[in-house]
Subunit: 462 residues, 2 copies
Amino acid sequence: MTDHLAAVLDRIDADLDKSLERLFEFIRIPSISTDPAYKEVCRRAAEWLADELRELGFDASARTTEGHPMVVGHQVQPAKGPHVLFYGHYDVQPVDPIELWSTPPFEPTLVEAPDGDTWIVARGASDDKGALMTFIEACRAWRAVSGELPIRVSILLEGEEESGSPSLKPFLEAFRDELAADVALVCDTDMWDNDTPAVTTMLRGLVGEEVEITCASRDLHSGMFGSAARNPIHVLTEILAALRDAEGRITLAGFYDGVQELPAAVKEQWSRLPFDEAGFLGQVGLSIPAGEKGRSVLEQIWGRPTCEINGIVGGYTGEGFKTVIPSKASAKVSFRLVTGQDPAKVREAFRAHVRAAIPADCTVTFKEHGGSPALSLPLDGPWLKPTLDALTQEWGREAALAGTGGSIPIVGDFKRLLNMDALMVGFARFDNRVHSPNEKYDLSSFHHGIRSWARILAAFAR
Amino acid sequence: MTDHLAAVLDRIDADLDKSLERLFEFIRIPSISTDPAYKEVCRRAAEWLADELRELGFDASARTTEGHPMVVGHQVQPAKGPHVLFYGHYDVQPVDPIELWSTPPFEPTLVEAPDGDTWIVARGASDDKGALMTFIEACRAWRAVSGELPIRVSILLEGEEESGSPSLKPFLEAFRDELAADVALVCDTDMWDNDTPAVTTMLRGLVGEEVEITCASRDLHSGMFGSAARNPIHVLTEILAALRDAEGRITLAGFYDGVQELPAAVKEQWSRLPFDEAGFLGQVGLSIPAGEKGRSVLEQIWGRPTCEINGIVGGYTGEGFKTVIPSKASAKVSFRLVTGQDPAKVREAFRAHVRAAIPADCTVTFKEHGGSPALSLPLDGPWLKPTLDALTQEWGREAALAGTGGSIPIVGDFKRLLNMDALMVGFARFDNRVHSPNEKYDLSSFHHGIRSWARILAAFAR
C-alpha cells in the first residue's frame, strides 16, 4: 500500500488547482456559527462536506444536534491496522469589522505574498476550512491512486467551534463507541515558523479562581477610619504579590509537585530551532521576559506552570479621587498547569494561601472558574515518531515538538471521554490573521499540508 | 465684663425655648446648596442670618458671590482685647433617600432619646445649623445681659460647605484684611464622647496620587503570552504590597522624617479618657486594629501618618472569566500626613518607590490628586488653655484634646490665606447621622453648646 506514496504525491501536485477550486467552493458558504441568521448556511456547509466525504467512499452524513450539524464519516477499509479519527470544524468567525477587509471575505482571492508565496485571502481560509481540506484532499489523492485509504479513517467535523462547541461533549458521550479510535488527528495549530513543520504535543491545563475579600461591613471614609480599619485592597495586593517570588517562581505550597523538567531532547531541540524571542515580545511592545528566571520564553509559555492575575477591582475607580476604604476587593487569578499537576490540588493550595493571609475579622469567598489538567502526547508512543519523520521528509526541515499555552478543549474531551490521545499537526503561519480581517492561508501551507497528511497516513500504515 | 458670666448662663437657661424656636425657624429654610433649584432658598437662609446678626448689633450683610451668598458680620466693640472670627455654614446636604426619614426633614421634631436626652430631628439640626446657632445664641445672651460682647467678634457663614466651597478661597483672598482676626473659631466637630467635651487640635494632611502602569501595547491572551509577557497587575500589586511592612509602617524612604511622637500629655490623656476601641471598630464589623503595631486606634487614626489604597482596577472585572493579560492597571493611593511632613516630599518618595519597581520595558504615569500639610493648634498658645478650662467647667468633665483623620479645608485656608490658627470646638455626638436620613442634634448639645461659647468668650476676655 505504502508503495503508492510517490504516485499519491504526484497526484496531489497535479490536482492542486482542482483542490483549490473545491476549497474555494467550500469557503464561499459563509458558515458563521455565532449568528442565528446563518443557521441554514451552516447546514449547507455540513451537507457540502458530507457529499464530499461520500464521494470519497465514506459512510458519511450531517447529523442534527441542538445546534449546528455534526458531519461524521467512516471508511472501514482496510479492516486491519490503526484507526484514526480526524477532527476539524466547518464554521468560521464573523467578519466584522467588514470595512477593514481588502476583498470580500467570502470570495476567496489569490494575492501574491511578499515572500513569493501566494495567499488565499478569505474568512476561514486558514481557520479551519483550508486546514481541514488538507486532510480531505490527501484522502482523495490516496483513493484516486490506490482505490482505498492506507489506514482506517473516521472523520468528525463540527460547526460550533467558534461559538464554544456546546453540542460537542454530549455528541461525544452519545456516540462514544462509534467515535473511539486509536488516535485523534487535529488540524488547527501552527507551524513552528514559516519553514519548519511542528507537532504540538503539550497543552497546558488551567485553573481559574475568583477571590473576594470583605473587611468592614460597609465602605468607610479613610479620614475617619484610615489605618485602623482593615483595607481589603491592601490585604488582596499582599496576597497576590506573594504568589510569585523574586525568581518568578510560584510560591504556593506543593505547586511544583509532580512537575518534570522538559525532556532533554525537547529542550535541546528548542534551543536549536529558530525562535525569535525579541520579535515575539517586541510585537507587543515588550523586551524583557517576565517569567521564571533562567527559563527561555518558549519554556515560560509552553513548558512551565504559571500564575496570572487576569483582573482586579476594588474601591473607587472612576474619574477623580475618593478617600474611601472599600468593604470589598476582588481578583480573578488563573494558573496554567503542566503534566503532573493536579488542578484540584492547585486550587486548594491557592485557597489555603489566601485563607492564611486573611485577618481574623475579615472574610473571603471563592468562585471556581474551570479546571483542567495539562495534556501531553507521549514522546515514545506509536504516533509521534512516524509523524515527525513524515513532516521532516515533506518540508526538508526537522519537524519541531511544540507546545501551546492556551487550551484546545477538544483535545481534553477526546482524552477524558474517549480515552484517546490527539496528534496536533497544523500548517498555519503566525501571521494568518485568524479571527481578524483579511485572514489568509499560504498556498504552500495548503499544498504541503495535503502532501504531509498523505505521508502521515502512509507512515501509520507501516 | 466677665463678672456677667453667671447672669449670662442663667439667661441662656431661661431663654432656651426661644433659642430653640429660632433654630427651628432657621432649619425650616431648606438651604440645599448642591441643588440649583434651591438657589433662592439659600439666599433666604443667608438673609435670615444677616437679619439675626444685625439684631445682635453686628454690622452684617449677605454678600453675593458667584455661588451662594457669604454672610459676614462684625462687632467692633470692645476695641481692646482679642478679636475672633467665628466660622460656620448655613447650607445642608440633600435629603435623599427621603423614604428613610421618619419625620419630614425640614420640619424639626423633638423626639425623646433612649438615654433621656431629647433629639432635635431634622436636616441640618447638627450639621451645621444647630452648631452655628450655639455661637449666635451665646452672643445674644451676652448682649442681653451686658449690652455688648466680652471680646471683639466677627462672623463668617458660608452657603457652599456641602458642595466643595468653591467661592470660599476667592472670598478669603478678596477680603483678607477685613476677615483676619487673632484666631478662628470653628464649630463643626464632635465631642470626645457623649459626656466629654473636646477641642480638635490636630488635622492630618493629605496627598492623593493616581498611578497607571502600562506593559504590553495591547491586551494579550494569557495562554499565548502568559508568564513571558509582563502583567501590569502583578507589577502593581507588588508595588502596593511593599508600601507597608509587617509592622504596619510605611516603607517609603524618608516618610517619617520630621514626624514627632505625640506630646506626652496628649498620649497620657488619650490613654486615660474613655475611648471604646472595640466599639469603634465593631460598629463596622471589625475587631482588629489594622495600622502600625504598638499604637492605639486613636493614634492610628489621628496621630500617625498612614497610607491607604482607595481604588484599584485592571484586566477583566465583569461576570465570568477572561484569560487576559491587560495592557494597563491603575490604582489610587492616599497618604494622611501629620505635622512635620512635607506633602511634596511624600509625593516624590512615592513616585520614586513606584519608578524603582517598574521594569525597563514598561511605563508609568502619575496623576496628582491634591496635597495639603497637616495642621495643629499649638498646645502652648494663648487660646487652648482658656478654652479647655471653660469646657471643663461647663461639662463637669476634663475636656479632651482630639484629632481628626479627615481634612477640614477651611482650617487650612485660614492658616494659609489669613495666617490664622483655628480652634475647633463642637458639640456633635458620633451618632448624629450627619448627611444621612433622620439627622439629629441632642438638646443637651445645643443647650450646653450655647453655655460653652458664653464661657469661652468670657475666658478670652480675661
